[in-house]
Subunit: 130 residues, 2 copies
Amino acid sequence: MQIGEAARRAGLTVKTVRYYANIGMVTPRQNAVTGYRDYAEGDVAKLQFVGKARKFDFSVEECRELLGLYEDRNRPSREVKALTLKKIDEIDRRLAELQSLKDELSGLASSCDGDNRPDCPILNALSGGG
Amino acid sequence: MQIGEAARRAGLTVKTVRYYANIGMVTPRQNAVTGYRDYAEGDVAKLQFVGKARKFDFSVEECRELLGLYEDRNRPSREVKALTLKKIDEIDRRLAELQSLKDELSGLASSCDGDNRPDCPILNALSGGG
DNA sequence: CTTTACCTTCCCCTTGGGGGAAGGCTTACA
DNA sequence: TGTAAGCCTTCCCCCAAGGGGAAGGTAAAG
């Protein structure tokens, strides 16, 4: 099928699908007559796979790795689990970062009256030496 | 002072300080003899201000806005607080997103043995229709 | 005279595509 | 017959927020 239908079926944009072809992640055959990209069912499955993995915050490079494991019928599940745990770890770190950021900002916001007067503890904190 | 010392004092890299000058965020005078950027004390204060705001996850554009408020001695603190609350809101949304992502990934990871066998619930979930 | 340490501008690189131009193909409709 | 719509292609610039490094100018110090 042509790229438009493949994209529709995978729930991706044509741009994205073309991008995945360009970086060698999901490479369709080429129609010898038209020169158009020609997607098989298996390609659509891969596109869907990548689309989901991206939603799970896996980077394109990690998706490539997962796709390799997905295509290798003999790979140990250990490898996939390791990648997943690593990703969970990253998310944990980012969660902690954001939480402490939020705590600091919340502290600042609650100390500020937010009225019409020019005195603002938030700006004072940002400009103060610390 | 020259850009190197200004950067050091603000805790930023020279690249970053030069970038802020290029986008018109903190614009030093120019030394007429050498053509070098010439930073005053006030400029360093602004650089420190921006540096801190960036650490609080404010975008460069938001920093520009905060800097405008910082320089306006008559602005109401309301505006600063509104910007801060908006940022807290964004952080909250991102926290929720990451948390649900983590929950899903954790569920997948715990259902996977992670051994030498090829059967992997994680890959099954990524490739399954849903 | 040369090294070292500054500074300058300029250009390419990153992530993951989006937007749109310019051009080619086929099918449908007036 | 013309032409408009709807596909497809490649090509290039754009986003954030700078990082890396080249090429070149200048000043102080040995």
